[in-house]
């Protein structure tokens, strides 16, 4: 994404999140996000299969050691 479009993205997303940014900060944030975009592009190129799940898995409760519910 070129710098102009990144600036526009930062302005739009900040407005959506109700984050007030002045012009100077918008510029600096866009520079940071541009760096992160380069890292995201690296990851985008790494193969992931549909079954590769998230590293963090929600657990509804601790695993019970016995299958009849006994502690």
């Amino acid at each position: 994404m070129n710098d102009t479009r990144m600036l526009a993205y930062v302005e739009t997303m900040a407005a959506l999140l109700k984050l007030p940014l002045d012009a100077a900060r918008t510029q600096r944030v866009a520079v940071n996000l541009q760096r992160t975009a380069a890292m995201a592009a690296l990851l985008e190129a790494a193969p992931l299969a549909a079954h590769d799940e998230l590293a963090e898995i929600f657990r509804p409760a601790a695993f019970l050691p016995n299958n009849d519910g006994r502690e």
Binding site: Y9, V10, M13, A14, L17, K18, L19, P20, L21, R25, R28, V29, A30, V31, N32, L33, T36, M39, A40, L42, L43, E44, A46, L48, D52, E53, L54, A55, E56, A62
Partner: protein
């Protein structure tokens, strides 16, 4: 007042034997802090009254022939993101100054108190742990005791500097992407980033829930091991604490490395290491008889994924304050926090999905190896204010690049002891070596570290303050 030149483990022995009192150790520690901290700037909070109460309680127990804990009378301090009862948990910020004081100690502080250790204060850090340099704009930069013009590393900079300055023999810190290992490396002390999920994080101010670790730093390997054993305890109330029982390390320290498969990480870890960093890795490898070069899987990708998750979770955590008082944030990191809050969700989800694949590849690597070696930082401590590093002819932005070698390892959750080594050509400044093992195998990295310590290759050197 006595001058006390003992390391953490020797202090505990001296108190237990009656050679020195806890109060004498405390007075020596407070005097050292008083005489040096104006230059080092490690402490942001001193808890003298509490410390005197804790020290006197230890001395009273000994006088009454009651059993003492394994760290009885040993002074220590904590990064100021740990809750200390009655103290506001700053986490390096001024935003938190208006928070109520902590109602109770952090879980690990309670573990230390139960072991008889004496808390002398809270320590400087990068704001909200987002940094590797502790150039804290609000509280001033933490200075390296071996060269006061240089950084102490971060984000647990005060935790590294306080030990290196001889103010306290033990500190506690946190490590998300390298924040224990970087200051341990740059200050020349021992540090442990345990397995992700080994130690409870309850009562510490979070940075990145998915990657945050807590751990000790110390002036001796014996002190590091004693402290680690004291800190261990399952904690069902920390959703990130996965350890189900204590696995003491001290009884295993002397087992040596005979039969262990020790390798040296090449590729990414070699390419991003300066000559000094390569020198200390070669010295450690020679001592441990490690000759094979090993390739860590997807190191650069792991760093990218850790960077994205860190920015996203960190930005989200502070979004409300970023909306209303961004000007009160650390100028060195506030724009990164905001950029993190604005990241597309696909970047974050892809990074989390990658982490699972990556974890499996790293664990597979440890089917062939027991301990792997890499430098902890690309370079020795840079001067305060440094913007760019030259790493083998490639200019790299200083502040994020200090974590180049630590970030891929913590992202896999592996345990790491950082050993203090002293290369040539750095003006007397140290560079640490990471000893890395498979998750839950802290025993292996401690055994290798003990060999380096016994050989005198890894050691803590007194600072000339």
């Amino acid at each position: 007042m006595k001058t006390i030149a003992l390391d953490a483990a020797a202090m505990a022995e001296a108190v237990a034997s009656g050679e020195v009192s806890a109060r004498e150790l405390l007075d020596a520690s407070l005097a050292r802090i008083e005489s040096t901290d104006g230059r080092v700037n490690a402490f942001t909070e001193k808890t003298q009254a509490r410390a005197r109460t804790e020290a006197d309680a230890v001395d009273a127990r000994r006088a009454a022939s009651q059993p003492l804990g394994p760290l009885a009378g040993v002074p220590y301090a904590v990064k100021n993101l740990f809750d200390i009862e009655g103290v506001v948990t700053l986490a390096g910020s001024i935003v938190n100054r208006g928070d109520p004081v902590a109602a109770s100690d952090a879980f690990l502080v309670r573990q230390m108190q139960a072991a008889g250790a004496v808390l002398v204060g809270g320590l400087n850090m990068d704001e909200y742990a987002y940094g590797f340099t502790t150039e804290n704009t609000h509280y001033g930069p933490c200075r390296n005791p071996h060269d006061l013009t240089c950084i102490a590393g971060g984000s647990s900079g005060g935790s590294g500097a306080a030990v290196a300055a001889g103010q306290v023999p033990i500190t506690l810190g946190s490590d998300t992407n390298g924040s224990i290992r970087v200051p341990a490396s740059l200050c020349g002390i021992w540090g442990l980033k345990p397995t992700f999920g080994r130690l409870s994080r309850r009562g510490s101010y979070p940075f990145v829930h998915s990657i945050d670790h807590l751990g000790p730093l110390a002036d001796s390997l014996a002190g590091l091991a004693l402290t680690y054993d004291v800190l261990q305890s399952p904690d069902a109330l920390d959703p990130g604490c996965q350890a189900l029982r204590v696995q003491p390390i001290v009884p295993l320290l002397g087992r040596g490395t005979a039969g262990l498969r020790v390798g040296v990480l090449g590729g990414y870890f070699h390419d991003n290491a300066s000559p000094a960093a390569r020198e200390v890795v070669a010295l450690a490898a020679g001592t441990l008889g490690a000759h094979a070069e090993v390739t860590w899987p997807d190191a650069a990708l792991a760093r990218a994924a850790a960077f994205i998750i860190t920015a996203s979770e960190g930005g989200s955590l502070h979004l409300n304050d970023l909306r209303t008082r961004a000007d009160d944030f650390e100028p060195l990191s506030v724009d990164r926090f905001i950029a993190g809050a604005l990241q597309p969700v696909d970047w974050y989800l892809r990074a989390q999905r990658f982490r699972r694949v990556y974890r499996d590849k790293v664990n597979a690597l440890f089917r062939d190896w027991d301990v792997l070696l890499a430098a902890a930082t690309p370079v020795s401590a840079p001067a305060i204010g440094t913007e760019w590093l030259d790493i083998n002819g490639t200019p790299q932005p200083c502040r994020p690049s200090l974590g180049l070698l630590t970030q891929p390892v913590s992202f896999a959750g592996c345990p790491v002891v950082t050993a203090p080594l002293w290369p040539t050509g750095t003006g007397g400044l140290p560079v640490g070596v990471q000893l890395i093992a498979a998750p839950w195998r802290e025993d292996l990295v401690f055994r290798a570290a003990q060999v380096l310590s016994d050989a005198g290759v890894a050691r803590v050197q007194p600072s000339q303050l």
